[in-house]
Structures are given as structure tokens and as C-alpha cells.
Symmetry: D3
Amino acid sequence: MAKLIAYEEAPPEVRAVFDDIKASRGVPDVNNFWKALAVHPPTLKRVWEQLKEVMAPGALDPLTKELIYLAVSIAHGCEYCIASHTRSARAKGMSDAMYGELLAVVATAAETNRLAQALRVPVDPQFDR
Amino acid sequence: MAKLIAYEEAPPEVRAVFDDIKASRGVPDVNNFWKALAVHPPTLKRVWEQLKEVMAPGALDPLTKELIYLAVSIAHGCEYCIASHTRSARAKGMSDAMYGELLAVVATAAETNRLAQALRVPVDPQFDR
Amino acid sequence: MAKLIAYEEAPPEVRAVFDDIKASRGVPDVNNFWKALAVHPPTLKRVWEQLKEVMAPGALDPLTKELIYLAVSIAHGCEYCIASHTRSARAKGMSDAMYGELLAVVATAAETNRLAQALRVPVDPQFDR
Amino acid sequence: MAKLIAYEEAPPEVRAVFDDIKASRGVPDVNNFWKALAVHPPTLKRVWEQLKEVMAPGALDPLTKELIYLAVSIAHGCEYCIASHTRSARAKGMSDAMYGELLAVVATAAETNRLAQALRVPVDPQFDR
Amino acid sequence: MAKLIAYEEAPPEVRAVFDDIKASRGVPDVNNFWKALAVHPPTLKRVWEQLKEVMAPGALDPLTKELIYLAVSIAHGCEYCIASHTRSARAKGMSDAMYGELLAVVATAAETNRLAQALRVPVDPQFDR
Amino acid sequence: MAKLIAYEEAPPEVRAVFDDIKASRGVPDVNNFWKALAVHPPTLKRVWEQLKEVMAPGALDPLTKELIYLAVSIAHGCEYCIASHTRSARAKGMSDAMYGELLAVVATAAETNRLAQALRVPVDPQFDR
């Protein structure tokens, strides 16, 4: 298990990131992911800045971004990420019906991905036009 | 490379699926994936029925479903599927800006997935509540 | 692309492995995999010895072993390996019907694998008894 | 962890699937996978119907199908699926010796898959003939 | 295939990144990866800044970092990345012998990774001390 | 969970491997991986011999080999292997700073791997020269 670094024992550059996460999200404490990532403060800071930028509303809304994040986490088999982003998607409005459909799409994609790879299907020329 | 089975040489049960794909999508011919999958007619039929059901509009709209499908295909490294579903997402309204943001989310998820796995981060109790 | 090392330009320890592959399989030349792996003769020799031992008839027959090998290669998305082991399985007796069923099982496993991971299903106690 | 939906609290369409699983397999209760998948009844029903069809005896016998399923589950790193299908394979006749040989084949495939990808080996022309 | 954006047709924010890559690496043109990533200028800029920071000499020397990068690329089956980082590792001093040993370590890790997952080996308590 | 085979209950050919592991590493007992792998003595013996050969000092030093091993284990999502090889890398001299940089490189590689695959970037001709 990761060593989790609590706010009290963290060096100033880690506390600064933790403070920003708590303020941005309006939460009293950061998740275990950040406490574990604090083992390397430059990566902690870079990943948090990246996440803020990438997950902000844009051409895609925050819920759609969470669904994509969750789908990738499932395909990579990352249990922590699945748990964390299922929760985040729920908080951003994912209903039971949406969750069920996401599961169905991810599962169908997994199935056809392996079929296309197994069959070594050549890319249709019109896909590149 | 897969052997691609053309309509003309296909047995009746394959032609029936090809006809349904062409009618449902309003296209003059089916993609290579279906021509390759025709090597096993029961799987061809089952996968097509599944895809029609799963990708139909529901609690998630068709474009969101395509974005999820594309994200999974990238995480599985399936070149054919990436080419095919990038095209489908474009046809369903994915703009350049949406595409750029999808790339950013998928890449960020890949990065944090591997970090969470590397660190063996324990799941926060509140994720399961 | 890999540099492929032909028999003529190979050092003696590589030629010895190539000779053993050709004699064991009754083929006039080795596949590209071996010509590429010859870049590191100790790995070439070790992998060939391992393959001979592992793929020999045992409690599982050679065709069943090839089907398992092919299934893993599909799940890992290794195009060369898929092409090579599809061919080997055919040579060892995989019929069209067997191939179609293998595709169906691999695809179904991919689908349920991602569902079980997405849902974080706890292992049933009786599985460990 | 997934919310597990017990028979008593399940809606009729879920109970119908659970009843069919129990009758088909001759078991008093369904595994956790099905109880978790009941979160989305259409996917529960579709996956169960697919599994019944795909895993039925055909050109490949049920044990061979289980071995392929297990091999894919290992390559995808799905712990639940590995536990579940190791158990199923045992129930269908996988001996200790067969299990040991399956492990050896899967491990060898993983090794050569990564080597072939690392070396970017070009597919031999005869594989496509 | 990705649309590749050449310097001449690139908008100013993309040219600025291309100029920095060329100056930092002392090369006359950027690789295809950057030309393709220019489809989304914010991601182009972010990834380049990240790469510069992460791959700079530190507690690990640049060659060791390249070997780690290459190993991950092989495990993810990314052909472009394997080609690109094999080249970079060569440029930073990877000898034939080092390359052969890297292949052997990656292949052995792939093999034992799948064995440990297949067997569901419990983590030894001393690993967490 | 794997059945773990203790020294006392192990057959002679397993004891011989356990003895060699303990002597080579100067440890009083073998890790759980070996106790689980003892389910198939020929694989136990082959994997141990392979590991001794591959991880021995050569053109790459033992710590560099451990870092590569750990990177692959993270990319494959093998929790046991991550725990075990993080520990081994520590024992061979991986400092906190090295560990932080390894995490950063692995995460960056995961990110750019998926971007290169998503964009289907064509390999630059100079990579193959």
C-alpha cells in the first residue's frame, strides 16, 4: 500500500497543492490519491495543474469528461480510479440509467476491439478521408 | 489480414445482416469489420444486434456513446477501432475542439491510472458509500 | 521495423538455434520472429528452448495450447503474434467452426472482464474453497 | 465495491434472469457477478443470453472454451474473472497438470507477445496465404 | 492516419512549440508525433513542457529514463512510441548489449506479471514494511 | 487466492528450487510468488532459472534492470509485481528521488503512448534507418 502523507506532516510545497485542491473542490480533505502522490512533490503539483486544466468545462461538459475518464480507467483495469471516477461521475449527475448505458458501451467496445484485432481488419480507406 | 467476405459471395444469413446494417445506417456497403466478422455468421449477427441496441439513443446521447467507445478503443490500442470510431464520432457531431479535449482527457486518465496503480493507493471509504 | 538477421550473416550460436527450429518443425527457413530475436542470441536461445518445452504435447494437446496462445495474443493486441498463431492453429487442425467459436469466447471474455472490473465485484467465497 | 442485488429485492426482469441462471446451472444462488450486473437489467439479460450461447458445446468442447476464457481473463488482469473461471474450469475437468500447462502457455505467450511488439517484427507473407 | 500539421501551415502557438522543440533538441524539424498532436494546441504545449521537465537529467540519468520509457511503450503495445524511443535510447547511448538485456527484462516481467495475476498471489507482508 | 505451498509440504524438486532461491538471495524463506508457482514445478524451475540469468549484472546494472521490471509491472497493472519489485528496487538502491522520477516517466509514457495510438501517428522514416 502507498504511504499516505497527511497534511500535518507534509512539506510546504505539498500543503500548497493540498490547499488548492481543497479550495477548488470545496472539500475538507484530499483523497488518498493525492496523499500518495505527495511522495514526489513535482509530480503532485504537475498532475494537479493538468487535471484542473483538462477537466474544466470546455467544448465537452464536465460530466461527459468524467464518463470518458471512467471508461479509460475501466479499460486499464485501475481499481482505485474506477472507484474514484464512478463517484465523481455520480456527483456530476450520472444517473443509474446513464451508468448502465456506460457499462454497456464500454463492454461492447471491449468485445469489438478484440474482434477487430483478432481478425486484423484493414482500415477502410474512407476512414482517412 | 482478415479475409473480407463480399456481399456477392456471402451466404443468406450473412446477407441478411449486411442488408440490415446498410438499411439502418443508410450506406451503400458495410465496413470491413463486418466483412471480416462474416467468417462466423452467429457472431456477426449477435454483435450487430448488440451494437444496434447498445448504441441507440437512451439516457446518453449517441455522440456521448461514441466518445466513450473511442476512449475505450484508444486504451485497448485497437487501431481499426480508433479509425472507425473517430470517423463515427465526427459524423455524429464531434468538433475539432471536442476531439482535442477527448484526447486530453484520455491521456490524463492514462497517466493517473498508472500512477494510482504504481502507488497501490487504497480506495477511500467514502467512495463506497 | 526489426532488423532481420538471415542465416548467412548469423553468428554460430544463432545458426545453431535456427538449425534446431528448422529441424524440429521441418521447415526450410525460420519465421521473421526468430530472425528479429537474433539481435540478442541469449534471448533467442532461451525463448526457443522454452517454447519447445511449453508447447510440447502434455496434459493439454498441441491444438488446445495453440488456441490458448492465440487468445492471449489477441488480448495483448500483438498483431504479429495473432497472425503467426492463427496460422499455427490452422496447421494443427483448427477448423473454421473452431476459429469462429474461439473468436466468440475471446470477445465475450473481453466484455465480461471489463464489466467485472467496472463493477468491482467482490470474489465469491466459494471460488477460493 | 459493487452493490450486490439479492433475489429478494430484485425487480421481476432481474429475477427472471436469476431463475434461468440457477436452473441452467443447477445452483441455489447466482454468483456475485450477476448480482452486481443487475444494476442494469438490459445488460444483465443480454450478457447472460450471450454467455449461454457462446459457452455451449460446439466445435470446441466446454472445457476448452473455459481454458480460453481463463487465458483472456489473465491477460486482461481481471481478478474476479480469474477466480471465477479458474473455478469453472476445475468444475469442467481441468486437472492440476492441465492448469500448470495453461499457466506455462499463457506466460510464454505474454513473453513472446511483448518481444514481437518490441522488435516490430513484420508479418511473414506466408501467414496471410 | 493522423493529419500532420507542417510548420508552414501551423498557427503561431503551434510554431512557438515547434521552435522550442527544434532548439532544445538541435534538430531541423519535429517528429510526426508533434505534427499530429498540433491538432490540439493546448495539449501540444502541455505535453511538450511535461516531457522537457520529466526527461531532464535528475536522480536518474537520461538514458535510464529512456529505457523506462521504452519498457512502458512495449507493455502498452504502442508501435510509434516503441520506434521513437528505441531511436532515442540509441541516441543516448544504448548499446546492442543493453538493448538485448532490456528486451530480456521486459519479456521476463511480462511473463511473471501474468503468472502472479493468474495465481492471485497475496502480497507478502514484508513488502509493505 | 493462490494456494501457497510451504517448504515442509513441498516435493523434492520444489524444495531444490526453494533452496537455490534462499541461497542465492541470502533469505530465510521464499516470497509468496514462488510458493504459489510451486503448483507447477516445471514452470517454477524454468522461471527461477530465467530470472537468475536475466537479472544478473550485465551491460545493464541490477538497479536499472529492477527499474525496467517495475515499469513494466505498472503498465500491466500487476499489483503483486508492483509491490514486490518496488521493494527489490529499494533494496538495490532506489532513492526517494529516483522513485519519484520513475513514477513521472512511467506516467508520461502512458500519456504519450495513448496519444500516439489515438492519433495513429505514422512512424518517421528516420526511426528505421
